[in-house]
Amino acid sequence: MLPEGFEVEQAGQLVTAYLRATEVAHIDMQELMQECAEKIRYNNAQNFIFDLEQVEFLASACIGSLVEFLQEVEHCRGQIALVNCQDNVTFLFKVTRLDNVFHMFDDLEEAIESF
């Protein structure tokens, strides 16, 4: 089951996940990743956008969950994009150089065009 405030929408092979919470803990991210992995397995999903507009704090353990999920996405030749990241979250990805691994965009439209 998805954590409160989280929402996942699918349109064709594109899945957009809205993380409507100010703090995202590792367990929340794991549940979201499970839901997204099921979209790959059962609903033929390929590309994923995570909208982090409301997220002010992302636990560093979420990195592992995202990278683990990225492996599944790459297995079906898909991509992950992060959009609307706040400064704190952007910092986390930049300081770990994971901004080279996950594509980061300012808004949803830009991310959709990139796929």
């Binding site: 790959i40 059962y42 990195i63 990278v67 599944e72 297995h75 994971l98 691994v101």
Partner: protein, 181 residues
């Protein structure tokens, strides 16, 4: 004397990289990762063990570099593992849960053995209970179909051996139960 930043050895299809400096910075690791990626591209190897016994402190931007290397190795059918991490470095990987992705090992030998094993082991999603091959989305099927031949070939070989093994036994039985001479 200027100490070399790292050294790379090879154990069959596994490259073993050893950063030598106690402070491992992103820039040092970047050049190591570039060299390892090149060697993977050349077909020299497909997996990498990074032995971190000399590294007391690791810059957080090393994480991204290692994940890039991991992606590269996975694309070649291999993987990346870490061995002999010092407590500080181990903490960094455990805190970010990247230890689950890469795997931390006490010895380099164990890490090499695990990487060899990973190549032959089915992918994690194949072990999960759930969808069968017929439920698999189209975008996952080509890669899975190629792996799917292995059990079929193994079953055929087992059947072949069984048939051949049963022949002499059948002859013995015939002789045993035959009329007394």
């Amino acid at each position: 004397m200027n100490q070399q930043a790292y050294q790379i050895d090879r154990d069959r299809r596994v490259l073993v990289a050893r950063p030598n400096r106690a402070q491992c910075m992103g820039a040092d690791l970047a050049s190591l990762v570039v060299e390892l990626c090149q060697r993977i591209d050349q077909g020299d190897a497909d997996s990498v063990v990074i032995e971190l016994s000399n590294v007391q402190h690791m810059d957080s931007c090393c994480l991204g570099r290692i994940i890039v290397l991991h992606q590269h190795a996975r694309a070649a059918g291999g993987s990346v593992a870490l061995a002999q991490c010092q407590p500080n470095v181990e903490f960094l990987f455990k805190m970010t849960k990247l230890d689950k992705v890469l795997g931390l090992y006490d010895s380099t030998e164990n890490a090499i053995a695990e990487l060899r094993d990973r190549r032959t082991r089915p992918k994690p999603h194949q072990n999960r209970t759930g969808p069968t091959d017929s439920d698999t989305p189209r975008n996952l099927q080509p890669a899975r179909q190629t792996r799917g031949y292995a059990p079929m070939i193994a079953a055929l070989l087992r059947a072949h051996k069984r048939i051949h093994a049963s022949r002499p036994v059948a002859q013995e039985q015939t002789l045993h139960h035959g009329p007394p001479s």
